[in-house]
C-alpha cells in the first residue's frame, strides 16, 4: 500500500497545481459465479470455495482530467470478497499521467493497461500481462488485462508510429493458483488446490528484471501492419527448477502483424518468434524451447447486427527432438505444432440493448476446449445484467483448458454505472 499511497500523492501534487476539475465516474457491481460440480481438489474454506469460484461486490471509481498540457487518470476498485481470495480489498487499477511532450511525442507514465496486436482473445505479440484467473471466473472481459507500471513513449513520424514501453520490473500473467480454480501439478500429474499447487518463484521486483516492449506500425491503404519486439520473460512459469518450483525464464520475441479488409472479410494475421533465452538450443528439458507463434483470423458481418469470426492459432516448438528426448516418462507430451481454433458469434438485439455472444476455443492438437457464452442486457443506460458461462474441458489433465475441467462455472453480474 505504501507505493500506492506515494503514487497517489504524487498525482495529487502534480495535478493540484493545475487547478483541475476532474470528471468522476464509476460503477458498483455484484459478481457471482457458481461451479457446475463441486471441485474436491480445492481446499474447503468457510465460504464454500468448492462450489463458488467468485462471489463479490466491487465498486470502481474513476477520476480523470485533461488539459492542453496533459491528462491524468486514476481508477480504483474496492472489493468486498466473500471468498477472501482477492489479494487486497483495494485495487489500484490505473494511475497515470499522459503528456504530449512534443507534437511528435507522447509520454504515458504510471500504472496503466496496455494492449496491442490483432487477435481476438488470442495473443502472439501482445506480451503485456493477462489475468487468466479473472477471465475464467466470470469477470468482465476488461479484467483480462491487469494494469502494469509502465513508461510508455510514442513517437510519430509521417505515417509511422514507434512505441516503446518500459516496465521497471516483471509482471507475470495472473494464472489460476489453486484458490478459485484447481490447477494441474506437473510433478504430481494431477489437478490440485492451492496447498499442493507447484510453488512459483517470483522474480524480484528489480530493474534487472524489467521488461521492454516495442512496436512500430503504419498502414498502406486499408492494410495496417506492425512490427513488434519484446525483451523480458515468459509470461507463464515455463521453467522448472530441480527443487520442484517453477520460475519465469528469460524470453525475447519479435514479430509482425497485418490487418486488412479482404472482400467482405476483415482479415488479420500475426506471427511471433519467442526465443527462449535460457534454453536457446532446446537442450534443457526443464525450460521451454523457443517457439514460433502465429495466427490468422477472419471476421465478417452477417447482415444486421450479426458478427462471426474465426481464428486459427498455431504454436510451433523449435528443437522438438530435444524436447522429446527430455520428456518425463509418462508425463505430458505436446505436439510440435499445436493448433487452436477459435470462433466468435455476436448478435445484438432490441436496439443493441441485448447482446448475445459466444466465444469458443478448440485446441485441435491438445484436444481441449473452452466455451464462453454470455448474454447481457441493459435495463437502462445505468443498469446492465450479464449472465454467462465459462466452460472448460479436455482429454488430458495437463493442457491449458483441460486442467480446468472440474472448474466449469456459470456466472451472473449486475452493474450500475454512474
Amino acid at each position: 500500500m505504501n507505493r500506492i499511497a506515494i503514487t497517489l500523492l504524487a498525482w495529487a501534487v502534480l495535478w493540484g497545481s493545475a487547478n483541475a476539475q476532474p470528471v468522476i465516474e464509476g460503477f458498483v457491481e455484484a459478481n457471482q459465479a457458481a461451479r457446475l460440480e463441486q471441485n474436491d481438489a480445492l481446499g474447503d474454506g468457510d465460504f464454500g470455495e468448492r462450489s463458488y469460484p467468485r462471489s463479490e461486490f466491487r465498486a470502481q471509481l474513476t477520476a480523470r482530467d485533461a488539459g492542453d498540457r496533459g491528462s491524468f487518470f486514476l481508477r480504483i476498485d474496492v472489493i468486498s470478497d466473500a471468498t477472501k481470495h482477492s489479494r487486497s480489498s483495494i485495487d489500484l487499477r490505473e494511475a497515470y499521467l499522459k503528456l504530449p511532450a512534443a507534437p511528435w511525442l507522447d509520454l504515458k507514465v504510471g500504472r496503466q493497461v496496455a494492449t496491442w496486436g490483432t487477435g481476438d482473445l488470442i495473443f502472439a505479440n501482445d506480451l503485456f500481462a493477462k489475468d487468466w484467473e479473472a477471465f475464467f471466473t466470470g469477470l468482465d472481459d476488461a479484467y483480462l488485462k491487469p494494469p502494469q507500471d509502465l513508461l510508455r513513449v510514442s513517437v510519430y513520424r509521417g505515417g509511422l508510429t514507434a512505441e516503446a514501453a518500459i516496465s521497471p520490473y516483471f509482471t507475470p500473467d495472473n494464472l489460476p493458483d489453486g484458490t478459485r480454480l484447481s490447477v494441474y501439478n506437473p510433478f504430481l500429474q494431477q489437478p490440485v488446490g492451492y496447498d499442493l499447487a507447484p510453488a512459483i518463484e517470483q522474480r524480484a521486483k528489480t530493474f534487472r528484471n524489467g521488461e521492454l516492449f516495442g512496436r512500430i506500425f503504419g498502414s498502406q491503404g486499408s492494410m495496417e501492419w506492425a512490427l513488434y519486439g519484446y525483451k523480458g520473460f515468459w509470461p507463464t512459469p515455463q521453467g522448472a527448477a530441480m527443487s520442484g518450483t517453477l520460475f519465469y525464464p528469460r524470453m525475447w520475441s519479435g514479430g509482425a502483424s497485418v490487418r486488412m479488409p479482404v472482400g467482405a472479410f476483415l482479415v488479420n494475421a500475426e506471427g511471433a518468434a519467442y526465443i527462449s533465452q535460457d534454453d536457446a538450443d532446446g537442450h534443457d528439458p526443464l525450460i521451454a524451447n523457443s517457439q514460433l507463434r502465429g495466427f490468422v483470423g477472419a471476421e465478417k458481418n452477417l447482415g444486421r447486427e450479426w458478427t462471426v469470426g474465426v481464428q486459427y492459432y498455431g504454436e510451433l516448438m523449435m528443437d522438438y527432438d530435444e524436447y522429446r528426448a527430455g520428456l518425463m516418462p509418462g508425463g505430458p507430451e505436446f505436439d510440435e505444432l499445436r493448433s487452436t481454433l477459435t470462433t466468435r458469434i455476436n448478435k445484438f438485439l432490441l436496439e443493441q440493448n441485448l447482446q448475445l455472444t459466444a466465444f469458443a476455443y478448440w485446441g485441435v492438437s491438445d484436444q481441449d476446449w473452452h466455451v464462453r457464452p454470455a448474454a447481457s442486457y441493459k435495463i437502462s443506460d445505468e443498469i446492465k445484467v450479464t449472465v454467462g458461462g465459462s466452460l472448460l474441458g479436455g482429454d488430458q489433465p495437463y493442457t491449458m483448458f483441460g486442467q480446468f475441467q472440474d472448474n466449469s462455472n456459470i456466472f451472473a453480474r449486475v452493474r450500475y454505472s454512474f
Partner: protein, 1063 residues
C-alpha cells in the same frame, strides 16, 4: 573432377572462407557506388534522345516557346471568382511567377491573360482580363469575361464559374514536384484556398518517380522480411535461413552497384530490378535448402549432404537460371533504352544469383557448426501437411488426367479469347490509385474544365506556295479540323490562331455574330492580326500559335482524358480529316505534346515486348529439348509455361485491365519464372527414373521431396510479394499480383498437368534420345517397393481445387456505371451539402432515442470530420461522453467513396484498438434509428433518381426526387423520396417506402442554422414507423474550422481525444 560443377562446388567446399572473403570484398566494392546513383524519373526518357517524336516535340516547344503545364484548379459550391478570391489569386500568381523553374511571362491566370473587347466608340482594345474595361458603364465580372471569350472559355474557368484554373508553364518537367509543393506553401501563406487540386502530366510523372522510390524502399524490404519469415517457418533454423537472404541482398548489391558504376541512371525501370531479383535469387536457394534439409540427417555430414544436394540440383539450376536469363536478355532487342538496360542487368543478376547459389551456399553450409545443424531436418517430412498433400495430389493428377486435360483446354480457349480482348492502353496519371490527390484532381478538373492533358498539332507551311499559314485556305482548313475534333468527347477544347482572328473580327464588327468566322480575304487576316497588336495585344501571345514569320502554326488540343487510346483516337480523327479533305499543297503536319510521346513509346514497348516474348519462347523450347534430350519431353515441359502465360494474360484481357507498361515488362518475368518448376520436375523425374527404372515409382518419388521443394517455393514467393498489393502505386500492385499468379498457376500446372501428360506418353517418356534399352528399360515393381497408399489426402485436394476455382471466378466481378441526369446532379449536390459541408468540422452531438413506449435513452458524443474531396473520401471521429459505460470510447471511420469503409473502435478499459468488419452499412449506429449508412451517407450512384416535382418541407421550397436502388440488395426499402431544399440543397425530408408503397421510415431536418456561412442541419430526426421508435440528434458547438488533417485521423487520435472533448 573436371566438369564445372565439381570445380565450382569443390572449390567452395574446400575453401569456404576464401569464397566468403571474395564475396564480401566484391560486395563491399560494388556497394560503394550505390549512394552516388543518378536518378531519373522522367518517362519521356523511355525513348532515346534522338527519337523522331522527341525531336519534333522539342522543336515545336521551342518554335512556339511552349512549355509543359502544371494545372492548379480551385472548386467551390458557388462562383469562385469573388473579388476577395480574385485578389488572393492575383497574389498567388505573383508568387508563382517568382518561383524557380516557372516561365513567368506565360503563366495563364485571370490576372495575366488578355481580354479582347471594343470600347463604345468602336475601337479594339486588348487589355488584361483583370483590368477595368475602358469606356464601359457596366463592368462585367472576370467570370463573365472568361465565358464570353472562346479562347479562354472552359479552359481558365468553367462556364458556371464554380471552377477556375491556373496554367503554370515549367521550364522543365523536373521542376514540377518542387513547384507544386511551393504552390501549396504559398497558398497556405495567403490563406483562403480551401478546395484546390494540382495536376498535369508533368507533376504526375515527377510525383510518380518520387513516390516510386519511396515505395521501393518500403515494399522490397517488406517483401524480403516476409520471405524470410516464411522460410523460417519451413526450415526452422535461423542461421540456415539467413543464407538465401544474404544471397539475395548480395545479388541485388552486385547488380545495382555495377549498373551505377557503369554510369547508367537509375530509371523507373531499373528501380524495379531489386524486386525482380529478390524472388529469383531466393528460388534456387530454396531448392538447395529443401534438398539439404532432407539429406543432412541421412549422412550427418555437411560435406556429404551438400555434395549430393548439388549433384542432384546442379543441372536443373543451370537451366532454370539460363531460361530466366534468356527471358530477360531478350528485352535487349527492344528499341527502348531503359528496357534494354533493365533486361541486361536483370539477366546479369540472375547469373550472379546462380553463381552464388553454387558457391556461396555450399561454402555457407560447410561453415555452419554441427550444433546448429544437429536438429536440422529431423522432422519427418512425410508426416507434415505438405508431405501428406503432395503425394495425394500426384495420384489425383494421374487418376484424373482426362478431366484435367479437358479443363486445361477449356481454360486455354477462354484465355485465348481473353487475350484477344486485351486493350493496349496507358496513362501515367493512372499509375496512381483512384484516391490519390493527382487522380482526384484530374477527374474534377476534367469534369468541369477542358481537361488537364495537352497535345500539339503543328501546321508547317514552309514548303507551300506562299510559305505562310496566314491565308484563308489554311485557316479554313484548320477551323474545319477544330470542328471535327470538337466532336470527340475527350477533346475539351482546341485553340489556334483561327480563334484569335475570329474573335478580333467579331469585335471589329460590333459583335455581329455572323462575323465570328475566318475571313475569306488574306489581307483582312493580316489586318486583324496587325490590329490585335496595335490594340495592345502582346505579340508573344500570338507567337504561341504562329511563328513570327508566319510559316508555321500550332493548334493546342486540350484533352479531358490522357489515356493513350483517347489520344490515338484524336490522332486518327485528324488523319481521317486529312484524308478526306486535301490540305493546301505542301502543308506538313507534326504532332507533339507529352500525351503524344506516351502513345509512341507505348507502341514501341508493346511491339518490342511481344517480339522478345515470342523469340525467347522459341529459344526456351529449344533449350528444353536439349536439356531433357527428348523432343517430346521438351515440348511437354513447355505446357505449364504456356498455360500460365495464357491464363495470366487472358485474365488481363477478361478483366478489362489495360495492357500497360508494367504488364508489358512482366511478360519476360512470366516466361523466365514459370518454366522453372517444369524443369525441376522433369529433369529430376529423368534422374529418378534412371535410378528406379519404373514410371510409377518415379512419379511416387517425384511427389516426395522434389514436389515439396517446389511447393515451398510457390508459397514463399507468392506470399512474399503480398505487401506489394497494398502499394499506392498501381504498377507495384500489378507486379505483386503477377508474382502471385505466376507462382500459383505455373506450380499448379506443373503438379496437375505434367503427371497426366507424362503418363499418357507411357513408359518411355523419360528416355532421352539415343537411350539404350539395357540401361533404361522399365522393370516391374516389386511388392515391397509399393508404398502404403492411402486416399485420405485426395479429398483435401478436391476441396483445395474447389476453393481455387471459386476464388478465380470471383475475381471477374464488374462495376455498374452511373447515369447522367438532372436528378442525379441534384442528388449529388444534396449529398455534398449534407455530408460534405465545408471541408470538415466538428460538433457536439446529443442523441435522444425514444422507443414505442416513449421511454428515452440519451447518447452524447463529439463528432469530428475532415473531407479529402467533395463526394470523395472522408475521415470521421466520434468520441463518446454518455452513457457512462461507454464514456471515452472512440470510433474512427475512413469512408471510402470507392469500396467499403474502414472502421476502428477504441475500448479504453482494455486500451484496445479494434477494427470492425465494415460491410454492416445497415446496422444501427449505437442502437439508434440511424444506420451507419445514414451517418456516413449513401452514395447517390447506388440509386436511379427521378425528379417528381416541386413541394414544400420545413416551410421551404423544395424539389422532390425519387431514388430507387439499382441493386435491391443494397437497401431494405423499395425506394425513397427526398425533399431537396431549392436554396441550400439540404435534404429536408426523406420518406422510405416498402413494397406496398407504405412509408416505413421518415427522416426530417428540424432546424437549419447558418454557421460560418454554411447552411447546417442542426437538428435531425428519424422515425421508424414500423417499430414506432424515433431518434433525434441535435448539434451544438458546431464549427467548420478545423486544424485536423486527414492524416491525423489515426490510432493516436483514437487514444488521445482533443482536450476540449474530455472536459
Amino acid at each position: 573432377m573436371n566438369d564445372p560443377k565439381n570445380r565450382l562446388v569443390g572449390f567452395a567446399i574446400n575453401y569456404p572462407k576464401t569464397v566468403m572473403a571474395i564475396v564480401a570484398i566484391i560486395t563491399i566494392a560494388l556497394a560503394i557506388p550505390i549512394p552516388f546513383a543518378k536518378i531519373d524519373t522522367d518517362p519521356e526518357n523511355m525513348l532515346s534522345q534522338d527519337e523522331l517524336v522527341r525531336i519534333t516535340h522539342s522543336r515545336i516547344k521551342e518554335e512556339f516557346s511552349l512549355s509543359d503545364y502544371l494545372v492548379v484548379g480551385f472548386t467551390s459550391e458557388t462562383n469562385v471568382l469573388t473579388d476577395d478570391f480574385s485578389r488572393r489569386l492575383e497574389l498567388l500568381v505573383e508568387k508563382i511567377e517568382e518561383m524557380d523553374g516557372v516561365v513567368a511571362e506565360d503563366v495563364m491566370a485571370p490576372s495575366t491573360v488578355d481580354d479582347i473587347y471594343r470600347t463604345p466608340d468602336g475601337s479594339l482594345v486588348v487589355g488584361r482580363l483583370s483590368d477595368q474595361r475602358t469606356g464601359w458603364d457596366r463592368q462585367p465580372s472576370v467570370a463573365e469575361k472568361i465565358a464570353e471569350n472562346p479562347i479562354l472559355r472552359g479552359k481558365l474557368a468553367s462556364v458556371d464559374g464554380r471552377v477556375v484554373a491556373l496554367y503554370i508553364p515549367l521550364e522543365s518537367k523536373k521542376y514540377a514536384h518542387e513547384v507544386g509543393e511551393k504552390i501549396k506553401t504559398a497558398m497556405a501563406e495567403i490563406g483562403g484556398f480551401t478546395s484546390y487540386h494540382i495536376t498535369g502530366l508533368p507533376i504526375a510523372q515527377e510525383t510518380f518517380g518520387k513516390e516510386m522510390f519511396k515505395q521501393m524502399g518500403l515494399s522490397a524490404p517488406l517483401a524480403g522480411i516476409l520471405i524470410f519469415v516464411l522460410m523460417l517457418f519451413f526450415f526452422h533454423k535461423l542461421k540456415v535461413v539467413l543464407a538465401p537472404m544474404i544471397l539475395a541482398v548480395v545479388t541485388i548489391i552486385w547488380t545495382m552497384g555495377l549498373l551505377i558504376l557503369m554510369g547508367y541512371t537509375v530509371h523507373i525501370m531499373s528501380s524495379m530490378i531489386p524486386i525482380f531479383l529478390m524472388p529469383i535469387a531466393v528460388l534456387n536457394s530454396i531448392h538447395i535448402l529443401s534438398e539439404f534439409h532432407e539429406r543432412y540427417q541421412k549422412s550427418k555430414s555437411r560435406r556429404q549432404a551438400i555434395i549430393s544436394t548439388m549433384d542432384t540440383l546442379f543441372g536443373p539450376m543451370i537451366f532454370t537460371s539460363l531460361t530466366t536469363v534468356v527471358g530477360f536478355a531478350s528485352l535487349m532487342s527492344a528499341s527502348i533504352p531503359p528496357v534494354k538496360v533493365f533486361g541486361a542487368f536483370v539477366a546479369f543478376g540472375v547469373g550472379v544469383a546462380w553463381l552464388l547459389s553454387v558457391t556461396f551456399n555450399p561454402a555457407y553450409a560447410v561453415l555452419l557448426s554441427k550444433r546448429t545443424l544437429s536438429t536440422f531436418g529431423r522432422m519427418d517430412e512425410k508426416r507434415s501437411l505438405m508431405g501428406k498433400i503432395m503425394p495425394a495430389l500426384g495420384r489425383y493428377a494421374i487418376r484424373s488426367r482426362w478431366p484435367i486435360l479437358l479443363v486445361t483446354i477449356l481454360a486455354l480457349v477462354v484465355s485465348v479469347y481473353g487475350i484477344s480482348q486485351i486493350v493496349v492502353n496507358d496513362n501515367p496519371t493512372k499509375w496512381f490509385k483512384k484516391s490519390h490527390p493527382i487522380r482526384v484532381a484530374e477527374q474534377e478538373l476534367g469534369r468541369h474544365l477542358a481537361g488537364t492533358y495537352m497535345a500539339y498539332l503543328e501546321f508547317d507551311a514552309s514548303n507551300t506556295e506562299d510559305e505562310s499559314v496566314k491565308n484563308p485556305e489554311t485557316l479554313h482548313y484548320m477551323e474545319g479540323l477544330q470542328k471535327r475534333l470538337a466532336l470527340l468527347p475527350q477533346v475539351g477544347s482546341t485553340t489556334g490562331i483561327t480563334d484569335i482572328v475570329k474573335k478580333v473580327r467579331f469585335e471589329l464588327n460590333n459583335g455581329d455574330s455572323t462575323t465570328y468566322a475566318v475571313p475569306n480575304d488574306a489581307n483582312e487576316i493580316a489586318q486583324e492580326l496587325f490590329l490585335y497588336e496595335v490594340a495592345g495585344g502582346d505579340p508573344e501571345d500570338l507567337y504561341k500559335f504562329i511563328t513570327p514569320d508566319g510559316d508555321k502554326a500550332v493548334m493546342w488540343i486540350q484533352l479531358r482524358d490522357g489515356d493513350n487510346t483517347a489520344v490515338e483516337e484524336v490522332v486518327a480523327a485528324a488523319q481521317q480529316y486529312f484524308a478526306q479533305y486535301a490540305a493546301p499543297a505542301g502543308m506538313k503536319f507534326d504532332w507533339g505534346g507529352l500525351t503524344y510521346i506516351n502513345v509512341i513509346w507505348q507502341e514501341k514497348m508493346v511491339v518490342g515486348m511481344r517480339n522478345s516474348l515470342l523469340g525467347s519462347f522459341i529459344v526456351v523450347a529449344l533449350m528444353m529439348v536439349f536439356l531433357l534430350r527428348s523432343v517430346v519431353l521438351g515440348l511437354i515441359s513447355m505446357i505449364p509455361l504456356t498455360v500460365t502465360i495464357s491464363l495470366v494474360y487472358g485474365m488481363v484481357g477478361l478483366t478489362g485491365k489495360a495492357y500497360d507498361m508494367p504488364i508489358a515488362v512482366l511478360s519476360s518475368l512470366t516466361l523466365g519464372l514459370s518454366i522453372d518448376f517444369a524443369i525441376h520436375f522433369l529433369k529430376r523425374g529423368q534422374a529418378i527414373y534412371k535410378k528406379v527404372k519404373n514410371l510409377k515409382l518415379t512419379m511416387d518419388e517425384l511427389f516426395e521431396e522434389p514436389a515439396r521443394a517446389i511447393a515451398r517455393n510457390i508459397v514463399i514467393i507468392a506470399l512474399g510479394f503480398v505487401p506489394l498489393l497494398f502499394s499506392d502505386l498501381v504498377p507495384y500492385v500489378t507486379v505483386g499480383i503477377f508474382f502471385l499468379a505466376i507462382m500459383a498457376l505455373s506450380g499448379l500446372a506443373t503438379f496437375m498437368i505434367l503427371p497426366g501428360l507424362v503418363s499418357f506418353r507411357g513408359k518411355r517418356v523419360f528416355w532421352p534420345w539415343g537411350a539404350r534399352a539395357e540401361t533404361w528399360e522399365e522393370r516391374p515393381v516389386l511388392d515391397e517397393e509399393t508404398p502404403n497408399q492411402s486416399t485420405k489426402g485426395d479429398s483435401i485436394v478436391k476441396q483445395a481445387l474447389a476453393v481455387f476455382i471459386a476464388a478465380s471466378v470471383t475475381i471477374g466481378a464488374g462495376i455498374a456505371l452511373a447515369q447522367d441526369q438532372p436528378a442525379v446532379q441534384l442528388m449529388n449536390e444534396s449529398h455534398n451539402a449534407y455530408y460534405y459541408a465545408g471541408d470538415g468540422g466538428q460538433a457536439q452531438v446529443s442523441m435522444v432515442l425514444t422507443n414505442k413506449k416513449a421511454r428515452t435513452r440519451e447518447r452524447e458524443f463529439w463528432m469530428l470530420r475532415r473531407d479529402l474531396a467533395d463526394m470523395g473520401d472522408q475521415r470521421y471521429y466520434t468520441y463518446f461522453i454518455k452513457p457512462a459505460d461507454v464514456s471515452r470510447t472512440a470510433f474512427l471511420v475512413h469512408k471510402n467513396a470507392q469500396g467499403n469503409d474502414d472502421r476502428w473502435l477504441y475500448v479504453p478499459s482494455l486500451d484496445l484498438v479494434k477494427r470492425i468488419a465494415a460491410d454492416d452499412r445497415r446496422s444501427s449506429f449505437v442502437g439508434s434509428d440511424f444506420t451507419y449508412e445514414d451517418v456516413s451517407g449513401r452514395l447517390p450512384f447506388l440509386d436511379n433518381h427521378e425528379i417528381l416535382g416541386a413541394d414544400t418541407a420545413l416551410g421551404r421550397q423544395a424539389t422532390k426526387v425519387k431514388s430507387t436502388p439499382k441493386d435491391a440488395g443494397t437497401a431494405e426499402y423499395q425506394y425513397r423520396i427526398t425533399w431537396i431544399d431549392n436554396e441550400t440543397r439540404l435534404p429536408l425530408r426523406e420518406d422510405y417506402f416498402d413494397k406496398n408503397n407504405a412509408v416505413v421510415r421518415r427522416f426530417t431536418i428540424d432546424k437549419i442554422e447558418t454557421i460560418e456561412g454554411i447552411p447546417t442541419a442542426s437538428r435531425r430526426t428519424i422515425h421508424d414507423l414500423d417499430k414506432g421508435s424515433s431518434t433525434t440528434i441535435s448539434f451544438t458547438n458546431i464549427t467548420y474550422k478545423t486544424e485536423m488533417k486527414p492524416d491525423d485521423f489515426n490510432e493516436r487520435l483514437l487514444k488521445n481525444p482533443p482536450s476540449a472533448y474530455t472536459r
